[in-house]
């Protein structure tokens, strides 16, 4: 087991290195001179004084070769130092420490909500197989699946605030238990729900024909108890296997949803840093994003065999 985890982490390192190298190269060759980027916004005419610029560049070590600078960046990164923002001059680590909990809370809350509601809807759909309730749930899941959050968010906002008039304008972040969080949470959770509903539905349909369910039925166990006691495990396995995909989906959606609702999380930090070419922040965000995804995938792969011992033997005989 430990060897397996170690191998996965070893594979993760080149991935992150490649990604960081690409972004660093883009910053190095594409965006132009960071010193100019800093001083274009500063008062005075430093940006137009080549000698001063050269001196500052020399002092910051920016005229060394690309690979030396990249290596230096990595050395700092290993020590947990992300550098300073080009725009505000704040430490990138602090900026992220401020934004990360917001996105994390939102994402975790949405995942929990989504997993519970999605599994429930999937089970209900399967128990009403091919009846109208099943069709409604499947159509809902499919209809919502494709609609991007920056479309469903504003449309729902208009519906709730202007149409029904039951909500204040949701804007900004006032903690996870504030009413303003309802709409972003809802949008974030229902968009990828089709993934969960579909998995849960087909898992229940498969299990329904098993002998042990029929035995439980014939013993007169109530339906709800059959679902909770006898089916839950086989339903949760495929649901858990979707978590990695779900997290990537959430990270991508966070960028958009935080822009719509003005939430100062990682997504908004990403958008502002990209539009202002704030490369230290972008690099840190790319690093954190891929770390989160890899960690989640690793956790899923570790938890999965515990839930479903068959997965281990399947993995060994897997083809292609």
């Amino acid at each position: 087991m430990w060897k397996y985890i170690g191998n996965r982490l070893l594979l993760w390192i080149p991935t992150v290195l490649v990604v960081l190298l690409v972004v660093y190269a883009l910053a190095f060759y594409g965006a132009g001179d960071p010193i100019k980027l800093i001083f274009l916004r500063a008062p005075g005419d430093v940006a137009y004084n080549p000698e001063r610029i050269e001196a500052i560049r020399e002092a910051a070590g920016l005229n060394r070769p690309f690979l030396v600078q990249f290596w230096n960046y990595l050395l700092h990164l290993v020590q947990g130092d992300f550098g300073n923002s080009l725009i505000s001059g704040r430490r990138v680590g602090n900026m992220i420490a401020h934004a990360f909990p917001i996105t994390l809370q939102l994402g975790l809350a949405a995942t929990v909500f989504l997993a519970i509601l999605g599994t429930a809807l999937g089970v209900i759909a399967a128990l009403n197989h091919n009846r109208w309730l099943d069709n409604v749930i499947s159509a809902f899941a499919m209809g919502v699946w494709g609609v991007p959050v920056f479309v469903s968010g504003p449309l729902l906002m208009m519906f709730f605030v202007k149409g029904l008039d039951i909500m204040d304008v949701p804007y900004g972040w006032h903690g996870l238990f504030d009413s303003m969080v309802i709409l972003p949470l809802l949008v974030l959770a229902i968009t990828p729900m089709a993934l969960i509903i579909r998995q849960a539905r087909s898992a229940v349909l498969e299990v329904l024909s098993e002998d042990y369910i029929r035995t439980a039925r014939s013993k007169g166990i109530p339906n709800i108890q059959i679902v909770v006691r006898h089916m839950m495990k086989s339903v949760l396995i495929p649901v858990v296997s979707q978590l990695g995909l779900l997290i990537i989906n959430m990270l991508n959606n966070a960028v958009l949803i935080e822009t719509v609702f003005g939430i100062p999380g990682l997504g908004q930090l990403a958008v502002t840093s990209i539009t202002t070419s704030d490369y230290p922040v972008i690099l840190a965000l790319v690093f954190i994003g891929s770390t989160v995804v890899v960690t989640v995938n690793l956790l899923v792969d570790i938890v999965f065999p515990l839930l479903d011992p068959r997965a281990l033997s399947k993995k060994e005989t897997k083809e292609v």
Binding site: G30, F150, M158, V169, S277, V320
Partner: protein, 327 residues
């Protein structure tokens, strides 16, 4: 007794009439019949056909110029003269939505075609060469799928734009060719280049898997044993058999590309105003939505309908073309 024989005869005749048509159905006709039996898919197909039609004939049916500003009629509510109202500069929103359809279709079709070309080349190299090359391709595909790609591609887009603009500028100064002043094409090329970069791994993965699975089927092995050339096998067995999943994939990527294009413009890194894209119209509308909701509602509702149409069409295509997966 006679009645009974009659009914039996009737049933037999009915049965014969019923199976008479069945074998004559070709694979394509069968798939088509299954597709049009699916109401959601038909509605989706109609909506998407309309979208493509509107994108093509857009300039002839827009009631106004999409750039025409008229500050006297700013932020007007829906009326007969302006069916979707006007925006904060007095531009007709219907005309802008129609031009937005043009932007969306041009970009998403090019993104899809580019991703497919790359996907076909990389996927078939992986499947045919095998060994270390294949392992590398699989690793690379997994890599692109395991990072939050939206962020990375936005970075790519924004950092490639300044050097490309500078290059266009120097080219213009050197050649005085006005082609290099049309900076709108820089946006277009960057958007579809970058988005194709996200989407091709998906295409490559499925095409590779298709080739690998079909190539090991008995009928292909038999054909090879009978001396059919590689090209012949490709043309007669692999391409027709891979067509189903590939069509489904095409529709899926087309829909996703359209969403990504609007997401880009929504975040302000894609197609920039004044060129209308649904994404930047939504982002404009968000600033004033509590006063003038129609400015936000029109592009958002159109995009919502289009994305739903793609979902339902994709699902219908999947059911129609890959019936085996449900057995």
């Amino acid at each position: 007794m006679k009645d009974k024989i009659d009914t039996v005869e009737n049933a037999k005749a009915n049965f014969l009439a019923a199976i008479k048509d069945t074998p004559s159905n070709s694979l394509k006709k069968d798939a088509f019949l299954r597709l049009i039996a699916n109401k959601g898919a038909v509605i989706g197909l109609i909506i998407i056909s309309l979208l493509i039609l509107v994108a093509f004939i857009g300039p002839y049916i827009t009631p106004y110029d999409f750039l025409l500003q008229n500050l006297e009629i700013r932020n007007q509510w829906i009326s007969w003269a302006h069916p979707f109202g006007t925006d904060d500069l007095g531009r007709d929103i219907l005309s802008r939505v129609i031009y937005g359809a043009r932007t969306a279709v041009i970009l998403s079709v090019s993104i899809t075609i580019i991703s497919f070309l790359i996907g076909i080349v990389v996927g078939s190299i992986g499947a045919y060469v095998g060994g270390k090359v294949d392992a590398f391709i699989v690793w690379f595909i997994d890599l692109t799928m395991s990072i939050p790609s939206l962020l990375l591609v936005i970075v790519l887009n924004t950092s490639l734009k300044p050097p490309l603009m500078r290059w266009m500028e120097t080219q213009y100064l050197e050649t005085k060719n006005t082609v290099f002043r049309e900076t709108i094409w820089v946006d277009f090329v960057l958007v579809f280049g970058c988005l194709a970069l996200i989407k091709w791994p998906k295409a490559a993965r499925i095409i590779r898997a298709q080739i690998l699975s079909i190539r090991n089927k008995n009928y292909v092995v038999a054909a090879r044993a009978a001396g059919v050339t590689t090209f012949g096998i490709l043309r007669r067995y692999i391409i027709p058999n891979a067509m189903g999943p590939v069509i489904v994939l095409f529709s899926a990527i087309l829909g996703e590309a359209m969403v990504l294009e609007s997401a880009f413009s929504f975040l302000g890194v894609g197609v920039r105003p004044p060129m209308p894209s649904w994404g930047n119209m939504i982002s404009d509308g968000l600033r004033v939505w509590h006063l003038y909701p129609h400015i936000l509602a029109a592009p958002a509702a159109v995009l919502a309908i289009i994305t739903m149409a793609f979902s339902f069409l994709g699902d219908g295509l999947n059911d129609a073309l890959n019936p085996r997966q449900w057995e």
